[in-house]
């Protein structure tokens, strides 16, 4: 089946009023980015919907495969075009319906006759085309209310446009339409999911990761890069900041009592993240914290950790159960990456008995004996920045 264009329907954007065109423009750019390597694709956006054309048939197929991952799209449908004559429309209708499984499905025909010169009126057309389709697909059942398949025919001056299949979009808002934030990306299961949910709400992200070489390996670093790359597949590039954290962690271990060292570690990480946030012009910090999941995620711990900054900290998973988080991780494809077994900086130095209810004053008191500031500055200056997705050359292509 050869499609002439794709009709893209907006999600929540369509609820927007006077500032709608800002969101539409963002979505259009994101679609363009997601399809940047498809040379023949042309995008035309209107107030209520967007159209996508591709001369190359394979590129059209590829666009259909990628659009379900772009936030801000409610759904989209491939459109076939033909001459606006009854015979041509009848013939095209069979092709459009035949492109998919029909057995046992309910269906109806909907005609919009914008070009009023067309000889048959809407009702006659619906009847004529509906019965023609039924003759060729006897297993279809006609149903007016909520049918499985709506064959929509739009008759305009430039021709007739037919659609039937509806692909689900990812919903949400176009990434970047709701500002920029810093995601604390550990390599576990939760933080990528938190990043995904914020991206779905239109937030673009820079990710920050703490590495403690030589205790953590290059593989742990690769794992976080793969996670960030996965996130970048949801419609916007992701910059990953990898902070060298070894020196600070060793300082904590030697200066702060064991049972609060974890709290101090988190406080310093948050301070660093906040400084990077400021440098990058981001507004908020996103974490994958979920209440009560581990010692650092009790309300007492969150209070003690949060005290180092007044920037908004967004915790989209705070009230989500672990099993539900795992479900999302599996759907978005980060789970398989997150469960790779490499040690991260938190697991290596974690104390056996961290306090679940640390007292803010006590933690601050223990920290006051060490000047962490120069170490923090140094770590930020020495951070490694990786732009994802990586444009890497394929070492394996020749072998396979």
């Amino acid at each position: 089946m050869e499609w002439n264009e794709l009709l893209i329907r907006y999600g929540e954007i369509s609820l927007k009023g006077r500032n709608r065109n800002v969101f539409v423009k963002k979505l259009r750019n994101n679609v363009k980015d997601a399809l940047s390597d498809l040379k023949t694709v042309i995008i035309k956006s209107e107030r209520d919907r967007m159209f996508l054309f591709a001369e190359d048939k394979n590129e059209m197929e590829e666009a259909i495969a990628r659009l379900p991952h772009v936030f801000g799209i409610q759904s989209f449908s491939p459109v076939a075009k033909c001459e606006a004559t009854l015979e041509a429309i009848k013939e095209k209708a069979l092709e459009v319906i035949g492109a998919d499984e029909t057995a046992g499905k309910t269906f109806k025909v909907e005609v919009r006759r914008t070009d009023k010169r067309f000889p048959l009126v809407t009702n006659e057309l619906q009847l004529e085309i509906g019965s023609h389709v039924l003759r060729s697909f006897p297993d279809l059942i006609v149903q007016m209310k909520k049918p499985d398949i709506v064959l929509h025919i739009d008759i305009r001056i430039e021709g007739a446009f037919l659609t039937a299949k509806v692909y689900e979009g990812a919903g949400g808002m176009p990434v970047g339409s709701n500002g920029h934030s810093i995601l604390m990306l550990s390599g576990g299961i939760d933080s990528p999911v938190a990043g995904y949910l914020m991206m779905k709400r239109g937030v673009s992200i820079d990710a920050i990761h703490f590495a403690s070489p030589p205790f953590t390996s290059d593989l742990a670093k690769q794992k976080v890069m793969d996670l960030a790359e996965k996130l970048s597949s949801f419609g916007a590039a992701v910059r990953l900041h990898i902070i060298p954290f070894t020196e600070i962690q060793q300082a904590i271990v030697s200066q702060v009592p064991d049972n609060v060292s974890m709290t101090t570690t988190r406080r310093l990480m948050l301070q660093i993240a906040d400084k990077v946030r400021e440098e990058e012009g981001a507004l908020a910090i996103v974490t994958g914290e979920s209440l009560g999941q581990v010692a650092s995620q009790t309300l007492e711990s969150l209070t003690a950790i949060n005290a180092v900054t007044s920037s908004p900290i967004l915790r989209p998973l705070i009230a989500t159960d672990k099993l539900d988080i795992i479900d999302i991780a599996q759907t978005i494809g980060t789970y398989e990456i997150s469960i790779r077994p490499y040690e991260d900086c938190c697991t290596i130095f974690s104390p056996s008995n961290p306090k679940t209810k640390p007292k803010l004053e006590k933690v601050a008191y223990y920290e006051s004996f060490t000047d962490f500031e120069p170490m923090i500055e140094e770590a930020i200056v020495n951070r490694l920045i990786v732009e994802l997705p990586l444009q890497q050359k394929d070492d394996f292509a020749d072998l396979l």
Partner: protein
């Protein structure tokens, strides 16, 4: 030498050999290791897996690398019989399967499973009606080969798949060792649920094969160890073999039906049929690259030797059964007349053959007939 024994094995493709050597040099690490070298090997292994599955039309399917067609067939038959035992203990196969399927079935019979062996007509084709009548509520596995290795008969596996799906809950495995690369083979749509492919039949390397499965299908293991391949096939995976196989599969999938095998086969049938006391087996329903011929009162071995002396390598009905001297089970199953059944030879084309080879074969064949005193009809 003209090599007409490509159903026994093929010459490895040059680029497949290059890949094998390169991977052994550069990515020799164990793909299960967590260090960087292991990780690289694993990535390469998974890329091979993805490539093969996508060519087979099942990008979400499962793929197990094995030591060849025999192990893959054993794993399919015995592994699925064990895995699905709770559902029933009845299996169906045909009388003309490769020994790796037949003997696995016989083994299962000693373990309390019940097996029906479908008979075939004189062309080697099963009857789908018989298949339908043998399917039961407790049938758990049907294994039917796509193309027979001795006489080339193509079985109607798409129709079999449909009948099995409509009439039972059984899983459908097909041994596609002889058909892959010659006929369209796919795990998508109305194809089988599991297929076997062997590398060395498609210009790959010996000691390498796959069992490819639709999504979510898991046989019980038949060998035990480190739990590689999701626990279904233990043993360190040979990444180099996997890559070489992925390459051989890619090359042969794009080559399907490009050679003039069918035309050569028709030409030879026409040529051979002008002689007396010679018969072509399965003339109408066979794969393009296999031609089996039976001589009256002449041993196959004699013909093989004569052709050998004249520079042409052919084989008796199959390499597996050619050494033990008794009549093959396939020849028995298709009911070849007693005076013919010892004299079956097999000519099988491969991609190194050219039309001139067929011309030369005809000349030698004519001389052989003359020697036996069997002129034109």
């Amino acid at each position: 030498m003209i090599y007409f024994d490509n159903s026994a094995t093929t010459a490895p493709d040059e680029s497949v050999l290059t890949s094998f050597i390169e991977v052994n040099k550069r990515f020799f690490a164990n793909p299960a290791s967590i260090h960087l070298a292991g990780k690289e090997a694993e990535t390469l292994l998974e890329r091979s897996r993805e490539q093969i599955l996508s060519i087979l039309g099942a990008p979400n399917g499962e793929l197990l690398f094995t030591s060849g067609g025999t192990e893959a067939n054993n794993l399919a038959v015995i592994g699925f019989a064990r895995a699905l035992h709770a559902r029933g203990n009845h299996l169906i196969t045909t009388k003309i399967e490769h020994p790796s399927v037949l003997h696995s079935m016989r083994h299962l019979e000693t373990q309390g499973f019940e097996v029906d062996y479908l008979s075939v007509d004189e062309q080697g084709t099963i009857s789908v009606e018989e298949l339908k009548s043998k399917l039961r509520k407790d049938t758990i596995l049907v294994s039917i080969m796509h193309v027979n290795n001795e006489i080339g008969t193509i079985q109607p596996i798409a129709e079999c798949a449909r009948i099995i799906k409509e009439n039972s809950r059984a899983l459908f495995h097909s041994d596609t060792v002889q058909s892959f690369g010659k006929l369209p083979v796919s795990l998508s749509g109305d194809g089988p649920d599991a297929i076997t492919i062997s590398a060395h039949k498609i210009n790959g390397l010996k000691g390498s094969g796959i069992l490819a499965l639709r999504k979510g299908m898991t046989p019980e293991p038949i060998s035990y160890g480190g739990g590689q391949e999701k626990g279904m096939r233990s043993g360190t995976v040979s990444v180099a073999d996997a890559v070489a196989l992925a390459k051989a599969i890619r090359i042969s999938a794009t080559d399907v039906e490009q050679k003039d095998f069918r035309q050569w086969r028709n030409r030879l049938i026409k040529f051979i049929e002008q002689f007396e006391n010679v018969r072509v087996l399965a003339p109408d329903k066979a794969a393009p690259h296999i031609l089996a011929v039976a001589f009256y009162k002449v041993k196959g071995e004699v013909a093989v030797n004569f052709f050998q002396e004249n520079g042409i390598t052919i084989s008796t009905s199959s390499a597996c059964s050619s050494k033990n001297g008794t009549m093959g089970h396939v020849i028995e199953a298709i009911g070849v007349n007693g005076k013919f059944n010892n004299g079956v030879i097999r000519i099988s084309f491969g991609k190194n053959n050219i039309e001139q080879h067929v011309v030369e074969f005809e000349q030698v064949f004519a001389r052989f007939m003359e020697l036996l005193g069997r002129g034109n009809k």
